[in-house]
Amino acid sequence: MSTDSWSTYILTFVTFAPLVGALLLLVFPRRDRDIRIFALVFSLLTFLLALHLPVHFHRSVQGFQYEIDRQWISTPDIHYHMALDGISLWLVVLTTFLTPLCVLISWKSVHDRVKEFFILLLILETALIGVFTSLDLFLFYFFWESTLIPMALLIGIFGHERKVYAAVKFFMYTMIASVFMLAAILWLYAHTGSFDFVVIRDQIARGRVPNLPAAAQWLFLGFFLAFAVKVPLFPFHTWLPDAHVEAPTAGSVLLAGVLLKMGTYGMLRFNLGLFPEQARHNAPWIMILALIGIIYGALVAMVQPNMKKLIAYSSVSHLGFVVLGIFSFTQAGLNGAMFVMLAHGVSTGGLFMLAGILHERRHTYEISEFGGLATPMPVYAASYLFIVLASLGLPLLNGFIGEFLVLTGAFQAKPVYGVLAATGVIWSAGYLLWMFQRVFYGKVTKPVNLSMRDMIGFEKAAVWPCAIAALLMGVAPILWLAAIDPAVQAALTPFTQVVSKVVGQ
């Protein structure tokens, strides 16, 4: 195949490779071991395909690449329009990076209905990649809703005690919020005659959409609500702890690692891209909500007796940074937001895997059940410490870069926001290290913990790539930022124009 057609179809391959795997699994005999190997091979294959994207990505180009645009349905005018820019590029890579690790971490922990588990996991991967690659609003909504079913089923079938409650809560919360986005998308189609993101953006920018001024605020809110629930932004976060605590480990990893980013990605792409004026208008209260999320999430994480709940609330806090960065409308803030998204995906994914390893052995997440684990499980303790340090933002690891950039952006936007957000960094060091100390240091308080097995091969294979990625991202952030920066600049163009308009007056 020539390079041209490669770059046209590569996105289609990456997006649908996991789905092909899932369909093949459907007719696969119920031999659990083979199913696991097959799922691993397919998810690795997808990852390798996805690596093609950053390798051949033109970093200096601002617009979309690997574009494919075909008509799918003529009335209404729905296109199969997919493309990547620096914003979505790394999110796709992150998704394909985490999925094989999810397969590995579930190797031993899932032994009932193995086939269904891996089918759902692969379908979920396709839906997630689709969310980040589609540029047609309809296609985007289509993938967006498609993530719900496999995720809800993963939680509801393979989760822990209160799994059904958590699954239904997750489903209903996000479904109800996203119908408002559907209403907004339909309004846009009715008034522009297109679902194409690029077309709609240009029409709005040129003021060619009738009745837009009256409706823009509502449209902005329609999109924003769907994204805010997904992020989750305070006060829409209540579904998250339940979903995380009850989800199986792989579910938690993808939920925290990728699903939450769908929300922040959506804000960046659609709220900022389509409605820059409204975004600027609404930024003050959104930034305040983000700040509340950062501090509230951290404080609640501090007092959690349940390790998984603690990590879940730390996600609320970290995602608050992302939203703060996005709505600071500064180059540094947006770059930072993107970087926090990726870093959080890697390190929180790692944390959830590590928590899952403990649950595997003791069937509990209660921090008080552990203590002094560093003695029986030295390798595990070392890996845990590494990921914890990455997550709390130690320099030279990935958490630091993103948070630093976001704080820079927040200072530029409004110094007091920067100061308040900076306390979040301190809090996160507090609750993570305190948790680490209670679990690993001191004497072994419960005799049962003495005989706990250290990490086994599969677990190492799942966790260590996260640690390596965290280190790499911390040492050489430019590898990532080189692609992110031009896209962020492009996303900010309307804002700089608004500013120059104001200045010009």
């Binding site: 289509f142 799994k163 209903m172 209403a183």
Partner: protein, 515 residues
Amino acid sequence: MTTLPAALLQTIPQGVDYVRILPELILSVFGIVVMVLDPLVDEEKSQKLLGFIGLGGALAGLLATWYMAQSPGLAFSNMVKVDDFSVFFHFLIIGIAAVVMLSSFEYMAVQRIRAGEYYALILFGTVGMALMSSAVELVLIFIALEISSISTYILTGFRRNEASSSEASLKYFLLGSFATAFFLYGVALMFGATGSTNIDLISQKLQAEPVQLLVFVAMALMFVGLGFKVAAAPFHVWTPDVYEGAPAPVVGLMSTAPKAAAFAVLLRVVFTINAPGRSGLLWVAAALSMTLGNVGALVQGNVKRLLAYSSIAHAGYLLMAFAMTGSGDSIAGISAAMFYTAAYAAMNLGAFAVVSHFANAGERYVTLEDYEGLGRSSPLLAATLTIFLLSLIGIPLTGGFFAKFYVFNAAMKAHLIWLTLVGVINSAIGAYYYLRLIVVMYMRESRKEVPVTAIPFGLGVALAISLAATVYLGILPNRILQFAQHSAQELTPPQPSAISANGEQMPPPAAIPQP
């Protein structure tokens, strides 16, 4: 030659007139054959044989529809009109009847019901429904409505050993006749107001003259009658009881085919007559049906009742497509409504086919608890039902998604923003109770012994057809939608200047080569 014989000649039905009701004729013939054979064949054998004859009748009806589609036009002194619109509904209704008969084979045997008139009644009912979709004369519509209704009244009471079935039948009959009386009253008033019962003539009359109060009353009364048939609020109260009591395959039939027919009539009446003042009426009915249906379904423990409330809600979504007025909007509305009826028929038939298989003798297993652990005991059945339920929720890749999407899109286009919002919020609420059933099947362990038998051949085919249709409409909705849009153009009222042009659109009977 004087003009008088020529005029007389025109009133005598010609050959092509019969072609235009060919499906109805064939279905009637097969129905009569079933009736005649019933006492002649051995009771044990009659089940299968009569079923196959009935199915053959439906397939022949489909073929006849295809043949009929080749000669569009008016027939029987402008009482019947064959156009793309009626062809669409003929295919849909007769197709539904065929699928229902397929899924009835096993049901009749398990429930120990003598087939007898069962298949004949389905065929006769189908005649009525098919005729409803092609009739353009209000009196003929009324007759067709009665034919279809009376068949369904009897079918509802077909589990004659069950008190609940007889109760359902009686309830349906009493309320149903009341509703059709309303419809007839409306027709009478419309005749009083416009001097005609022909839909096209009424439309012309209404455009030419100022609208009287009587027309509004007539429209409202006709809507009462049709609203009852489609189970739209506030005329929905009968639905849960009747659906609970009636045999499951019959519920599959009557929640789809008569509804489709009634919607076809409603589309013709509302859009061709271009009824004044309809939007408020339909707005309220749509919003009420969606809300009452979804809220009612939230607390149901019986799957048949749950699906009954869901069908009320879906009638509401469908009615959204009726609330628009401008002619550009109405094409979007009509085509959305047509697509919705097709998608709804596919998914609902499938869901009821599963329910009727699972119910077992005497319809014992119809509560939510009975479905616990079905995902484990019968993965295939559970997976199939899950797909239908996901389609009813409106999840992508299923017909239900595009159906809802088109309706919401049409409503948004017509600036019915609030109604769209009511719709999208309702579809989110609706997700909850369908999800409950999925949750019960997959996430709970069964607490009691519920026997699950293998899927028999007939039911398997029925399920495969519904599943294929649901998925097809969810992935490639284009062709059906375009056909619907094409036929929608024939429904929009002729503009005063364009009446003659509209006349040309329908080739006069003489222009068609005689068979």
